[in-house]
């Protein structure tokens, strides 16, 4: 079973990469881009048929490794 996760920076945490991308987009003529935030996306293939179980495992992975909860939030899709 494949589970997808998105990890994003918490509100208020500086995102240098996002900022640089926004500026580049503006410079390329996309003037109305006001803000860009970059996050991570994970596609996890887990050998588990039960969706609830799989998702709860992935939640554990997020808390233990995939996200740094000091600055990041995660969302299982």
């Amino acid at each position: 079973m494949k589970i997808k996760v998105i990890v994003t920076l918490k509100n208020g945490v500086l995102d240098p990469q996002g900022k640089a991308i926004q500026q580049t987009l503006n410079g390329m003529g996309f003037a109305n881009v006001e803000n860009v935030r970059q996050g991570k996306f994970f596609d996890i293939n887990i050998n588990e048929k039960d969706e609830t179980k799989a998702k709860s495992k992935v939640e554990e992975m997020c808390k233990k490794l995939l996200a740094n909860l000091v600055i990041e939030d995660f969302k299982i899709l």
């Binding site: 945490v13 500086l14 240098p16 990469q17 640089a20 000091v70 600055i71």
Partner: protein, 228 residues
Amino acid sequence: MKSSVIIFPGSNCDRDMDVALKKFGFQNKMVWHNDDKLPNSDLIVLPGGFSYGDYLRCGSIAGKSKIIKSVIEFAKSGGLVLGICNGFQILTETGLLPGVLQQNKNIDFICKNVFIKINNKDNKYFKNIEKDILELHIAHNEGNYFCSNDELKNLEDNNQIAASYCNEKGDCNEKINPNGAIKNIAGIFNKEKNILGMMPHPERMIDKYLSGEDGTIFFKNLISNLKS
């Protein structure tokens, strides 16, 4: 004095640190990340480099390695743990130090000399150090220290900010901040001041033919503090 340098897959300043420690009188041992026991040591060093390629987040995967449990135990019992660059990142990822190291503000890797001001000399690392301002070298992509306002207040209240980026004269301002770190933070302690994480590399500055010699001051002072 006995020191141990931990080698993670992808560490690349482990040898440099070994050379520096030995040069200033430590009996140093190299410890493999997969070992489960630390040798008897007065100082544990987590060296710089790219443990696990800096994949996911710098230091995150090394923070899960086998040896880390013993390092945490050692630190909690008051042992001296020094993390340089990637070592600092590992210390924050394991929670031994607060905050995180984010990507540099200009999103570029930076390799150059900087000045840092020592803020707190009431600890084994900087007690009696002969200079307040050291010229050291940085080489990192993620050295932009960040923490919440509450944490920052804690750091300040407990005098945990070890060193801040400054100019030659010791002024700390945004203009000379190389990577965007909050309050120009270059290094921090834990509350008890036995754990130090910092981005600059003293081990690259240990003789006059290199880019500077202030690393010599750091190591000489450290070993003399440990001996006394």
